[in-house]
């Protein structure tokens, strides 16, 4: 009985001694926070952080044994976790994270997606040909792909895009278009989650619609007008759709054919590998939406200007996605000429 009381007293004394070190934990936590926010790069402080880490590990082990169900133990665990993260992963800067995303992660993801991009582009083109052939052979099928208002407008000999700016201001048009395009592209990506079938559906449907509409307006002699409307923004818009579709297809394949790590791990790896392209794609679609709102419906722009804008923006997209747009040139080594 007495020895049990002694053990309890001993535990209480040890716990009290442990709690007496609170100010040390506080200092260690504050130091870890300074490093995590990048507010200091003092070497002596960094050495102290390494000492703090060992000290906190020691105290955590004691707290787990002596005071397991206490908030002090929880606080100590958090301080230890913060010191661990700071020591092993360094400071987190939003700016450098974004720079790394655009300069390294996005180009790497695009390179990795190249085979998927070839396949999704092929699927999109084949779907467009299929849509064209269907409506060319059975003109009534256009009702499946276009709204009655669009059909009526083309039947009366003009594109639905003519006079669009008289109805809707360019800014509203741009916002509507870019929002819709970003949502469609994100769906093309995310629906890869359904073993790639969702991605296939979105790519196929958009390809079919494009081909069908071209066949329909061609029958009314308006294909040239439609091309003139699409060319400025469409080069990038369709490329981005194929790229996000490629990313969705990669996710679908990861789920259909998981590696040795299992389906969830394979899905996670594919999503992480392809995810960096999303922000670039969204930014490119904002540009395409602005062109579609301000340039495409404006009759003052000639075909040559539109082609120049479309091709120019597409080249910019290629430079942006390959990381060449913001890449720094390597410095020339200093040479001495004798």
């Amino acid at each position: 009985m007495a020895s049990r009381a002694d053990a309890a007293a001993r535990r209480q004394a040890l716990a009290a001694a442990l709690l007496g070190r609170t100010h040390v934990w506080q200092e260690a936590d504050a130091r870890a926070a300074r490093f995590a926010r990048g507010r200091t790069d003092d070497a002596a402080d960094a050495a102290r952080l390494a000492d703090d880490y060992r000290l906190l590990a020691h105290d955590v082990a004691r707290a787990r044994a002596l005071i397991p169900a206490s908030r002090t133990r929880e606080y100590l665990e958090s301080a230890y976790a913060r010191a661990h993260t700071t020591l092993h992963h360094g400071a987190a800067h939003a700016g450098s994270a974004l720079r790394r995303l655009f300069l390294e992660e996005t180009p790497a993801a695009v390179r990795w997606l190249a085979p998927y991009l070839a396949w999704t582009t092929l699927i999109f083109v084949l779907a467009a040909f299929a849509g064209y052939a269907l409506v060319h052979r059975y003109p009534d099928l256009i009702a499946l792909f276009a709204s009655p208002a669009t059909i009526a407008s083309v039947d009366s000999g003009k594109l639905w895009t003519q006079g669009l700016l008289n109805v809707v201001p360019s800014s509203i048009l741009s916002v509507e278009i870019l929002t819709n395009n970003i949502v469609v592209s994100l769906f093309a990506y995310c629906l890869g989650f359904l073993f790639g079938l969702g991605t296939l559906y979105i790519l196929g449907l958009n390809g079919l619609m494009l081909g069908a509409i071209f066949a329909f307006v061609g029958q009314h002699g308006l294909a040239g007008e439609l091309f003139k409307f699409i060319v400025a923004h469409g080069c990038v818009e369709l490329s981005v759709m194929c790229l996000t579709g490629a990313a969705g297809a990669a996710i679908g394949e990861a789920l259909i054919r998981p590696g040795s790590g299992g389906r969830l791990e394979s899905f996670r790896a594919a999503a992480m590998r392809t995810g960096p392209v999303l922000l670039s794609c969204a930014l490119l679609l904002v540009g395409a939406g602005l062109i579609e709102g301000f340039v495409s419906p404006d009759p003052r722009f000639s075909l040559a200007t539109r082609i120049l804008i479309g091709v120019g923006y597409w080249c910019l997209m290629v430079a942006f996605l390959s990381g060449r747009l913001f890449a720094r040139r390597p410095r020339q080594p200093l040479t001495v000429h004798g």
Partner: protein
């Protein structure tokens, strides 16, 4: 349904693993609701202030026909605040948002680190799936059914939500440290917490909690005679004195 996993455990070179308690659907939903209110209020505030300035008087009616400058300066920023809140704030605040901070949770990778911008974007892109068909139906179902309370975005980005005790806990821990005497550590923490919150509690709650604590630690020796609040406080302080 599998039992919820309480903690994320990360190996450490010290031999003492780092242990991070996982946040469940309740804490996550609470944080989301706080953030939803914040972004809604901010978006509406931008709209209201912008429209008042635009109209030059007390009227929230949009200009008809809608002018491009009004759309560019009032509508688009309001929509951007509402829709881009999560990705922008989470990247800027290293895996936290004001709602998450209020609840005391943050996003981490499986190694316990702050996720990079790519992972945060993937996590947010998959909100499209998680929000289907309505009110985050897919996300909530997945959170309830997975061991680590993950939604689709977390699975894709390899992230988890963990609790963190921030520096505001330090004061409480310090107070508790000063009160370890007759009490054990947990009792000292409760006493410190109760004395700290004393002014904010209603009188009945103060007396009830003080009575319970005295009974628990002093048993038959506890002085539980009726008295006013000051007497109960002084009894509690005597108990908590080292």
């Amino acid at each position: 349904m599998s039992a919820p996993l309480a903690e994320l455990t990360v190996d450490s070179v010290t031999g003492i693993d780092v242990s991070l308690p996982l946040a469940g659907p309740g804490a996550r939903s609470f944080a989301f609701i706080i953030d939803w209110h914040i972004r809604l209020v901010l978006g509406l505030a931008w709209y209201a202030v912008g429209t008042l300035i635009w109209n030059g008087g007390f009227s929230l009616r949009p200009p008809l026909p809608a002018e491009q400058a009004w759309i560019g300066t009032v509508i688009m920023p309001s929509l951007a605040i509402y829709f881009l809140y999560h990705p922008v704030v989470e990247v800027a605040m290293h895996g936290r948002t004001p709602g998450k901070r209020r609840v005391g949770i943050r996003i981490v990778t499986r190694s316990g680190a702050t996720p990079g911008a790519g992972a945060q974007l993937v996590r947010n892109a998959f909100r499209l799936i998680d929000s289907l068909p309505v009110f985050y139906g897919v996300g909530l179902t997945l959170m309830v059914w997975t061991r680590e309370s993950l939604r689709c975005g977390d699975m894709a980005a390899g992230t988890l939500l963990v609790y963190e005790r921030n520096a505001t806990e330090t004061g409480l821990v310090q107070n508790a440290a000063q009160r370890v005497g007759r009490l054990d550590t947990v009792g000292a923490e409760i006493a410190a917490d109760l004395l700290e919150r004393w002014p904010g509690l209603v009188p009945e709650a103060r007396i009830r909690l003080a009575r319970q604590l005295l009974q628990r630690y002093l048993g038959a020796d506890a002085d539980l005679r009726d008295g006013d609040e000051l007497q109960w406080r002084s009894r509690l302080e005597r108990l908590a004195r080292p």
